[in-house]
Symmetry: C2
Subunit: 191 residues, 2 copies
């Protein structure tokens, strides 16, 4: 039996990417077709869970909502949950300017993926840590990808192929964890 | 008749300040005693209104919720609705660093004050514009007050007396507009 979850996202590419990861675990994703309620919080898990509860109240179907951000160590975790807003306003240049003269350039991309599958509520997380590059490099990806170099690599996320990035990304980790759980504990994909 | 409104705020000083402004218009403020739901949006009015609706659903009493932010012109309005988060993470130094070399140092403090008085929903706004100082000055106020010089003044908000700041502040403007409306249109304070 394949389990169907409704993913709240306005981005069809994100749906396709996530579908690739979870389909081999017997999980099928469908677009939720509703807007995402985003609360203000420093905690990604709280944001994702509030959005998932809100979506479930409207759809009354199993739902998934993910939220991601870049957490820069020397900036106390900024821009964190507000990464897309900060990217729109300041761009990668803003982060580089704030880090001028900083020795500590460590940062992590994090994802929280909230699932509502009544009566279950769970949040799966995925992190990838690395460093902020001195200058933007690469044309792929989006947002802060051109200045993020994951640990163990020399390329930025924006210099990697989509396939390579998806293998190690925070978002992919979170979706894999969810899919493993759905397969092992919810019986998705079993006859 | 004095009208009573429940103000959603965790800060007793804000309640007292606002009470002083509105009481002479026949409006009484009481603490709502509940948390504030804050959604993510670039628009202060949307944030205040969503919080007020949420509070009204719980209290079923006339409610007021305000939201404020500093909008820096050269940064596309950043930090805007996320001012308190950005202040905690980057401090005034972060804004000064982002503005290094910028000629345009204009900025506005803005407040949106949402009122629910069924069946009425209204948002009152207050703005004060000025410039970002080259260095922080003054010990009063809070947040970005030490780097904000309102137009027509040479002192920063943090160098002014509380009384003087309250006379010209964005927040005071919004509460005065609300109180004038309540007095003229809702009959508050009339026999």
């Amino acid at each position: 039996m394949a389990c169907r979850f409704y993913l709240v996202t306005g981005n069809i590419h994100k749906l396709e990417e996530a579908s690739k990861i979870v389909s081999r675990f017997g999980v099928e994703l469908a677009p939720a077709g509703i807007g995402k309620l985003e609360i203000q919080s420093e905690n990604l898990e709280d944001i994702a869970l509030a959005a998932a509860r809100h979506a479930y109240m409207r759809l009354k179907r199993p739902v998934l909502v993910d939220d991601s951000g870049l957490f820069v160590e020397a900036l106390g975790g900024f821009p964190g949950p507000y990464s897309s807003y900060v990217y729109r306003k300041l761009g990668v240049g803003g982060i580089l300017k704030l880090l001028e003269g900083a020795r500590d350039r460590r940062a992590c991309f994090k994802t929280a993926l909230a699932m509502i599958y009544p009566p279950l509520e769970k949040v799966f997380t995925g992190n990838v840590c690395g460093t902020i590059a001195d200058n933007p490099r690469g044309m792929g990806g989006f947002g802060f990808d051109p200045i993020f170099v994951p640990d163990g690599y020399t390329l930025t996320f924006a210099e990697m192929s989509l396939e390579e990035k998806n293998r190690i990304s925070h978002r992919a980790h979170a979706f894999r964890r969810f899919a493993e759980y759905a397969s092992a504990r919810l019986g998705c994909g079993k006859r």
